[in-house]
Symmetry: C2
Subunit: 423 residues, 2 copies
């Protein structure tokens, strides 16, 4: 894409009231726009990142047999009365609205709705297991919305729900989802740590969180080389230097961000909402359920908290809005103009995603500073000086070194040295 | 996809309270689930159709230079106070919710929000024109929600907004969008008619609607061979047999559905919200705006209203959830089983989207009745009888004739006779 056409605006400084690294950088680089505390709009660059993450999630969900659906945001009160959650637990953070005499809520989560859909479709053990997910905006009242994309009132979420004929079958899938989550985070450039946590009103069982170590995190995890814990009440009192309750190893404490959580729901919802199936033995039994959340927009915030430096964002390859930033210097020179246009077309033919800085009235220094702020993985600079040697300059955003590469070797260089993912 | 794995359930009869053809058929065929009046969830088959339509829209938006963004659903009251619409006009159909002292609305449309974003980014005539769109769920109070996907409280919408330095530049783009809309509807299998309408509180100017003729429509259009009109007040009194006010031709009246609308906003919003740019002459001027709506989920309803018969839905090729329904009859026969599996794999290799009815315990008649209800464009039946002649049966959903095609010629036949779109 031609940068002169791209709708974005960079800022030298972040607005004063932005305290988090992710909101500061994402605002300054023109990825997001703040509508109010905890409510953000995604500008073209930000939306491209969001779509990349959604694509990764969809691919990994498909691998574990999950089918995508899309439930409504508006949820009828009567469904939430069935579980008693309308006025307690998560119902308290639900935004509510009214039309005539009817009260509806804005979905903070969808257990009631999905259980209702499934109980009307599932008859026998042959219809199970069943894995359904959606990617959709969720809404939660949030008095402490102040960490950019990490804690929002409206946020993108992937929620997966699984339905099983037995606890054993559920446990197997629960492990399958764990592995898929690790793959998703890895592809997003994040090392995630699986921790135990309490059930947050969903279940009395131990649930699991995927935590990412980050200085900007609001959570803390406590760990020894073999075990990780997070907000589980039982271990909440532990601190650095204490002994691990399992292996007696020495514990350390670090700040982290919760990027996903998975819950065994057992038969909590199927019982309250009468979701049965007929088993092999002809008996009517309650469906065993699990639910698995992933903060899609939050992941963007986590990535920026983890991958940045003093100059800007450093996007991991697979989630970057574009892979390559092509920057001609001295674009007024006819030769630079002609050769950079040709390079832009040639790289596009290779199905690479290029942001082409075709702006003529911008100083070279300004272009490079802005490129660092936006943070695409690879920067290619083309100028009179490089062209004299029939070269271009290639620099990875995450590295310091700049390499001069012959134009004829550029594609091969990108493929072999940088292991570029083709789109 | 294997039909045994697909989450869907067909019904012999539609629920009694469903009056519209589109909701009756979409519910019966397992595409959508009703959450409450005017609020629907999309099951896997329905979501696939929704995604196909979104894909068409994105491709056509890109062709006319529009950039995709994603604004929040939650909208702050103070923006709507700037235009005075919080408590009048469209603000009256806005769902509102509260957190502490703060009131927010659920976006019924996004003029205020986009104008706010743009006024902070646009400085000079060089930043214009600018075309921004999003695809997102909108929310409107709707006391008459009763026509399936045609009139909803929550619905998918594509809203495009254009920003110009002059009325003349706006007019050009307005015509460009018109053409893009015709292409979108055509690709969705719909013949649309451009009609004049009143501004619905957005503008005092004449606006335009894209109407699709359908018996299930709630609108009416009045037309002679050369001109079309819809709800414009001036011509609302005209009826069949009257003379066209422009060419004196004889008018006819038919039922229709509004599938899109486009509005010249002039400087209504930029004036109320102080959205300026500096022109070539150095003078500060108001940005000229246009907005362009398209009911994404509604289009699904329109397609079904137009394309169906007594047996079920007849999906146009480009929006069908799958292109081919592969149906083995007598799947218990080892030969049918083996050969249909092979055919399924071979067709998949050609990047065709196949729904493969691999269910063993379902009677042939039931499979065929269900296939007609679901309505994929091409049905391929494979059975002992066809295999004896080394053939399969090919039938287009929209045609009556069944053709016996040699297995070796199948791909060629599909390509040349049915002009299959590859995905």
């Amino acid at each position: 894409m031609r940068q002169s056409q791209l709708f974005y605006k960079t800022l030298k400084r972040a607005p004063k009231d932005e305290e988090s690294i992710n909101s500061q950088l994402l605002i300054r680089a023109g990825f997001i726009y703040k509508e109010m505390a905890g409510v953000w709009s995604f500008l073209p660059l930000g939306l491209r990142v969001l779509r990349k993450i959604e694509k990764i999630i969809r691919e990994e969900m498909e691998k574990i047999g999950a089918q995508e659906i899309l439930m409504s945001v508006l949820q009828p009160r009567f469904l939430w009365e069935e579980t008693g959650r309308w006025s307690k637990e998560i119902g308290k953070v639900m935004y509510k609205t009214q039309e005539g005499k009817k009260e509806t809520g804005l979905g903070p989560t969808h257990e009631e709705m999905i259980t209702d859909i499934v109980r009307k479709s599932i008859k026998s053990w042959q219809d199970l297991p069943l894995y359904l997910y959606q990617i959709q905006n969720k809404f939660r009242k949030e008095p402490r919305a102040k960490s950019g994309l990490l804690r929002c009132r409206e946020f993108g979420m992937k929620d997966l729900y699984s339905f099983h004929s037995s606890e054993e079958d559920f446990r197997k899938y629960y492990d399958t989802v764990k592995k898929a989550y690790f793959r998703i985070f890895k592809r997003c450039g994040l090392d995630s740590i699986l921790t135990e946590a309490s059930g947050a009103g969903f279940t009395k069982e131990i649930t699991h969180e995927f935590q990412v170590l980050a200085d900007g995190g609001e959570d803390r995890i406590i760990y020894c080389p073999k075990h990780h814990f997070s907000q589980n009440k039982e271990i909440a009192k532990l601190k650095t230097g204490d002994k691990c309750p399992i292996c007696q190893g020495v514990l350390k404490e670090e700040k982290s961000i919760e990027a996903g959580n998975i819950f065994p729901l057992e038969t909590k919802f199927s019982k309250q909402m009468s979701a049965f199936f007929t088993d092999r033995d002809g008996k009517k039994k309650l469906i065993v359920m699990g639910c698995y959340g992933l903060g899609v927009s939050r992941i963007i915030g986590v990535i920026v908290e983890v991958h940045h430096d003093q100059f800007g964002i450093i996007w991991p390859k697979e989630v970057a809005p574009f892979q390559i930033h092509l920057i001609p210097i001295e674009l007024s020179s006819p030769r630079v103009g002609k050769d950079s246009e040709k390079l832009y077309r040639d790289l596009q033919k290779e199905n690479l995603e290029i942001l082409y800085d075709d702006r003529k009235n911008v100083f070279p220094g300004e272009k490079l500073v802005e490129a660092d702020l936006i943070g695409l993985p690879i920067r290619i600079v083309i100028s009179e000086r490089t062209l004299k040697r029939d070269c271009v300059e290639v620099k990875e955003r995450k590295k310091k070194e700049v390499k001069l590469v012959k134009r004829g070797h550029l594609l091969q260089f990108l493929k072999s040295n940088i292991k570029l993912n083709y789109v």
